[in-house]
Subunit: 502 residues, 2 copies
């Protein structure tokens, strides 16, 4: 976005800003969804008052060219170009055509976060990405060249829906080293582990069916369940993981289709389910015949000792379906995951997958296969563990240094996230605004609950940014918490007619 | 599969075959789904009678270690390994848990075809793949290296759900050269064009909703519609494409959610919808407000002159949603497609896609983007057109040379396929068996119909194999037709107590 202000012009500055932005929107230089800088930042850049930018943005909103979401800033709402049919010629009323179930798919929070990570002025503690500078990029380039020589054009052609067979063999051997015994026909390669959630729900869940999730839970499961019109039963997570006593009570009254859990270094809470709970959970599942979907993207990233065995490794009755990915470690953008389950299930999921995307990227599968088989995986993982442990410690220290009273968190033993409970007086939407202004992004905890919780939480990621950026980001974040709390106290004081006590 | 026969042993030969195959299945050397050679072929290889192999296979079937499908040969049905829970310990009754809608997803024909193309002894005229030896593999290797240098680790990270923005810009410019005016927010990048079918149906179709398809239609749309529990209205295709008079009659009585058409070099029929029909179709859609999903993977591959303009290019009222892919030209295994439609639809589809696979492969998108932007696409396409035109002419000539009476086909102007009507006396399942024995694979026409048609058709692909293989494959295919017809005549003659007239 380019704005040049003419200070000698008779046209008011706010109007000049309006005109320049409008030109760029109508001219197509600022596309639909383009996020404008926060008012304060643009004001600083142009050397004008914040209120001037505020007025300009307000005017553009009134014109319908911008829209604002609390906490997500202001973005372009571009007009339909002239080539589209004008009103009255019978354009398709798309919104009326969308199907019933589809109306529940409305939460754009993850998509917004994906966009945010592309902005350089924002310290992103929001999204769960690996450290870009540590990715084995040149190694992958070399493997690509090797594949071109060895596999030839086959690498660009189709592969079976279940996955490239050598990769499935490699995964089987790799899983064995993690205590999971399975054979090739029990492994399904996925286009990212998100696809595993979608496939499982599509295979099992009819509208109105019950599904157990943790509370909090992985943010990406909720839209899938909403789209399927599932009824969600939320079981709270404490320091030992999912509360099996609550689950047991639920299973006495209901017969859900599935128990979804992320037991190791949970996203978002960082909690590692205790061994006792793991066994209780398995026992409950076997007794009630309700299968478990174990999502396990983080157990490789344990920074103190070894992780507990997965539910799948402990499972002697075949009730656990295991979902994982190496995306969190290797290359999230390649979209590869895998699922381990009994053959009738794999066959059903493969038939569904065939209608969805035929198969996952052959090239990506071959790259991953060679990366593991040529022995690059374990050394790379060791590098990651060292680097992420440092980042985790940095974030822990920075949170402590801030000395914000009422802010609570636990240092996780593995994974990607700190889960912080906010001080009582901090209002959630106010914090989002303050943080956006301060140039720091986090995941609002509410996104991880089926129903908004009483306490407010945030999830902070420590894998993506350098230790310096993390420290900077945490400082910005804690300042935002401070400001939000102060503003809240001021407002509360105003309301009862008192001066704030600072 | 390795079988050594001891001719001096007292153990009957059929039993030796049974024992060797059983050992290899139980030992895991022959995995689930492994396709055994046709009886005749194995008999030849071992130098035994066909009936010996037949007996051995029958025994293994009785033991539950093999299963046979008419026309799809015999494959391994491996026993559950000992690590799985034995019966009675409360294993999950998966088949009972599968959801209602899921029961309709049963057709494994495409998956079987994917597997078949991996077998070297079979001439595959079945699947729609580009010529492997013409793929620009080394060029892609070079582009990968360039991306490593230029984009760095970003190429492995996430991108927006709607697609890598530079690729969307590139596609927009490319579409403009094909007469389709659209802006970036109207383009959604897909994980293969199959995903476009799935997303559209998920966004629009509730159980019981009506969807119009062509008859015959693309084989991959039918399982998607079945899974969504849509009711299918089939409109016949003649030499000018979809019969708009039939469609009009349907639209007078019904209000379908969508009209699905593949108007240019249709898969499977090869038919190019005439300009008159295109205009009639657009007029019907605009008048009745039923949107069109135009699937257009083949218009780039026109071998005589230029293709007719797409429906989307002719669309003045915004009723056409355009779906395409460069997979048929560049790299099917990378799974990339794209869809062009109005913004409210793109937004809805992107929200659905977010829950399905978050986004399509970043690496693949960047490779495709650079391939087009660096000017490699048009020269590569020219090479393909020349090569495929030759293959098409070869197949046409080989079909003519066979002089099989009652076999009818039209030489297509573009695309990948010949669509042949079989002689009346050829029984479909018998032909499948004969062709499997002869080592040639085709797509049975029935797969392209919602309801089995009166006439029998086959689809033959001419892009994948070399001209020599095509000629060989057509000869094998025509021999199978001959044999099937003769066997049918013999049977008919037997039935009325007459000697066959040969």
């Amino acid at each position: 976005m380019q704005i040049v202000i003419d200070r000698h012009s008779k046209i008011p500055i706010y109007r000049q800003i309006v005109d320049r932005i409008r030109e760029q929107i109508v001219g197509g230089m600022l596309p639909e969804g383009f996020r404008l800088p926060p008012e304060r930042r643009l004001a600083e850049a142009l050397g004008v008052n914040r209120s001037t930018v505020l007025t300009a943005y307000r005017e553009l909103k009134a014109e319908g060219l911008l829209h604002a979401h609390v906490g997500r800033g202001t973005s372009v709402h571009a007009p339909v170009p002239a080539t589209r049919p004008p009103a009255g010629t019978g354009g398709v009323p798309w919104r009326q055509l969308f199907r019933e179930g589809g109306h529940h798919v409305q939460d754009p929070v993850v998509r917004d976060l994906l966009e945010l990570t592309e902005r350089r002025d924002v310290v992103s503690l929001a999204i769960g990405l690996p450290a870009p500078e540590l990715l084995p990029l040149h190694l992958l380039g070399t493997i690509f060249d090797t594949l071109v020589e060895e596999a030839g054009p086959q690498m660009l052609l189709h592969c079976p829906t279940e996955g490239h067979t050598p990769l499935r063999e490699t995964l089987t051997r790799w899983l064995a080293t993690r205590g999971i015994a399975c054979s090739v026909p029990e492994v399904l390669v996925l286009s990212g582990s998100q696809q595993g959630l979608d496939l499982m729900v599509r295979a099992l869940v009819d509208p109105g069916d019950l599904v157990v999730v943790e509370e909090p839970t992985y943010v990406g499961i909720l839209p899938v369940l909403r789209a399927a019109q599932a009824r969600v039963l939320a079981v709270p997570v404490d320091h030992d993981g999912m509360r099996t006593d609550v689950l047991e009570a639920i299973l006495e009254r209901h017969r859900p289709k599935l128990i979804y859990t992320l037991p190791t270094f949970q996203n978002p809470s960082g909690v590692e389910m205790s061994l006792t709970r793991r066994k209780e959970l398995l026992e409950l599942s076997a007794r009630t015949q309700v299968p478990i979907l174990e999502d396990d993207p983080y157990s490789e990233l344990c920074y103190d000792g070894s992780p507990l065995p997965s539910l799948k490794a402990l499972d002697s009755t075949g009730h656990v379906v295991y979902l994982s990915t190496l995306s969190k470690v290797l290359f999230p953008g390649m979209r590869l995951g895998f699922l381990v389950g009994p053959r009738p299930l794999i066959r059903r999921l493969a038939l569904l997958k065939q209608g969805i995307d035929l198969h996952s990227s052959s090239v990506g599968q071959r790259l991953l296969d060679r990366f593991i088989r040529d022995g690059h995986y374990e050394p790379y993982l060791a590098t990651l563990r060292t680097a992420y442990a440092e980042r985790r410690d940095t974030m822990d220290q920075a949170l402590s240094d801030g000395e914000v009273s009422g802010l609570a968190w636990t240092k996780p033993r593995g994974g990607f996230y700190f889960w912080c409970r906010l001080p009582r007086e901090v209002e959630r939407s106010r914090l989002l605004n303050e943080a956006a202004d301060a140039g720091v992004a986090y995941l609002p905890g509410d996104a991880c609950f089926a129903e908004p919780p009483a306490d407010a939480f945030v999830r902070l990621n420590f894998s993506y940014s350098s230790p310096e950026r993390i420290r900077d980001g945490v400082v910005r974040f804690l300042e935002s918490v401070h400001r939000a709390a102060r503003a809240q106290r001021t407002q509360a004081a105003d309301r009862v007619g008192m001066k704030p006590v600072v």
